[in-house]
């Protein structure tokens, strides 16, 4: 059976198609994940809905508080946006470390989210940013926190008639210390074996706000509420850092897989948590 390929020019056309054909259709954006899967599986989907004509989804918008990324915004657009570096540094950093220039020029954030890899770099940063995503259907739209959108490896709560159109998050305070660190087989074009990202907001040596998340060590990207609770209100010192790092290592659920082992991942969580918190100490 040959694939029916559709490339609607307008959002409402896409939503109408998904309403009728959604459960048998794949949505194509940059294709840097989907085309690889289709070719490797030699799988011909019944229907491919190419959304790349929807230019309105390519925009980065902002107001005084929030940032809005269209689903077709590429990793490269984020990486090179000078203003995002000021208030969403973790995401800029994460996007820079995805793949290669060629992949970043074509691969989209929306596609990356729907792909829902537990090791996803942009997903990790968006978890730190407490991002929400907007799902559009012919019948209406809904905002979901990222944690309710991605529920397992490659699993999202998107219904077949829904299109992910927008990602939004609140700007981080300018003085927040941000970190994003990814360990891979090599420095580029590599999926994370383990990754960490976070934001610490210090005032007079005391942690006012803290967000930490881990990648590739659980079925989904993992925020660490126990570590965050432990750190909030603490002065940042060596002992606190060590305890936080140990807590982070105990909070994750890594597995052995093609890329790495339980032992190495847990060890690196401890190491990376220490390094990142020490960097925050250095800045304070």
């Amino acid at each position: 059976m040959k694939t029916e390929y559709l490339r609607p020019k307008h959002m409402d056309e896409v939503l109408r198609i998904l309403q009728v054909r959604g459960s048998h259709a794949h949505i194509l954006a940059g294709g840097t994940d989907l085309l690889v899967h289709l070719r490797q599986a030699s799988y011909q989907p019944e229907c491919l809905v190419d959304i790349t004509a929807l230019d309105e989804l390519r925009r980065i918008r902002r107001d005084d508080e929030m940032v809005y990324l269209g689903a077709l915004v590429t990793h490269r657009q984020v990486e090179r946006d000078p203003r995002l570096a000021n208030y969403a540094g973790v995401l800029v950093n994460a996007c820079h470390q995805v793949g290669s220039v060629q992949i970043r020029n074509y691969g989209t954030l929306g596609g990356n989210l729907v792909n829902a890899s537990p090791a996803g770099d942009a997903i990790l940063a968006l978890a730190v940013l407490d991002a929400e995503i907007l799902l559009h259907a012919a019948g209406g739209e809904r905002w979901l926190p990222l944690s309710e959108f991605i529920t397992g490896p490659g699993i999202t709560t998107r219904c077949p008639d829904e299109l992910l159109t927008t990602i939004r998050f609140q700007r981080l305070p300018a003085s927040a210390c941000c970190f994003f660190h990814k360990v891979g087989q090599r420095r580029s074009v590599t999926i994370a074996k383990v990754s960490i990202s976070g934001m610490i907001f210090l005032a007079e040596g005391v942690i006012q706000e803290c967000r930490i998340a881990l990648g590739a060590v659980a079925p989904t990207v993992l925020r660490l509420p126990s570590v965050e609770r432990f750190l909030c209100g603490s002065s940042i010192n060596e002992q606190v850092i060590q305890q936080a790092a140990d807590l982070a290592a105990d909070s994750c659920a890594p597995i052995d897989d093609i890329r790495s082992t339980v032992e190495y991942r847990r060890h690196m969580v401890r190491v990376l948590a220490r390094r990142c918190l020490q960097a925050a100490l250095g800045v304070s």
């Binding site: 040959k2 694939t3 029916e4 390929y5 490339r7 194509l28 940059g30 294709g31 840097t32 085309l35 690889v36 070719r39 490797q40 491919l48 190419d50 790349t52 490269r76 793949g99 290669s100 220039v101 060629q102 992949i103 020029n105 074509y106 420095r187 580029s188 074009v189």
Partner: protein
């Protein structure tokens, strides 16, 4: 019967009109429909960079761009950079620096370098490495490639 899409695009500055099945890759179109075999296919998954071209001003893996997305596109390939009779100075420097062995990665690397140099006149070593990180070379070990790009950039 399989569907077919009409494509009107520019390749190396020349208007091109053709038809294709929508899922054929740009790499396939360049090589098989236009006879422009300078663009190579390595992995066909967007990771090796051998198929790199400049699409609408950006370096992309042409194996990951499908025909359905090409209407109105501006595509530049290695054939538009230089020819046997008239090498681009960057290509000349690659030869002088010994930055080519088997040559399979070279068109893709040149395209990545051109894309970089069009944005950054004097890239740093780190910027060069970042720009070619998606171009795998099994022969040279990359040092001479980086030196060639650096040397060319210095002459500008």
């Amino acid at each position: 019967m399989e569907s077919v899409c009409d494509i009107h695009m520019y390749v190396n500055g020349n208007p091109v009109t053709l038809q294709s099945t929508p899922l054929m890759s740009l790499a396939g179109i360049l090589r098989e429909k236009l006879g422009l075999t300078g663009t190579k296919v390595g992995c066909n998954t967007g990771e090796c960079g051998a198929c790199t071209v400049i699409l609408n001003g950006k370096a992309v893996a042409s194996c990951m761009v499908i025909a359905g997305q090409l209407d109105g596109a501006d595509v530049r390939t290695i054939e538009g950079i230089g020819s046997e009779q008239a090498l681009h100075p960057l290509q000349q420097v690659f030869i002088e620096e010994g930055a080519i062995q088997c040559g399979y990665c070279t068109p893709g690397i040149i395209m990545s370098a051109v894309a970089l140099l069009e944005e950054t006149v004097h890239p740093s070593d780190a910027q060069i490495r970042d720009a070619i990180a998606g171009n795998l070379c099994r022969c040279t070990g990359y040092q001479k490639i980086i030196r060639a790009i650096q040397r060319y950039a210095e002459t500008r």
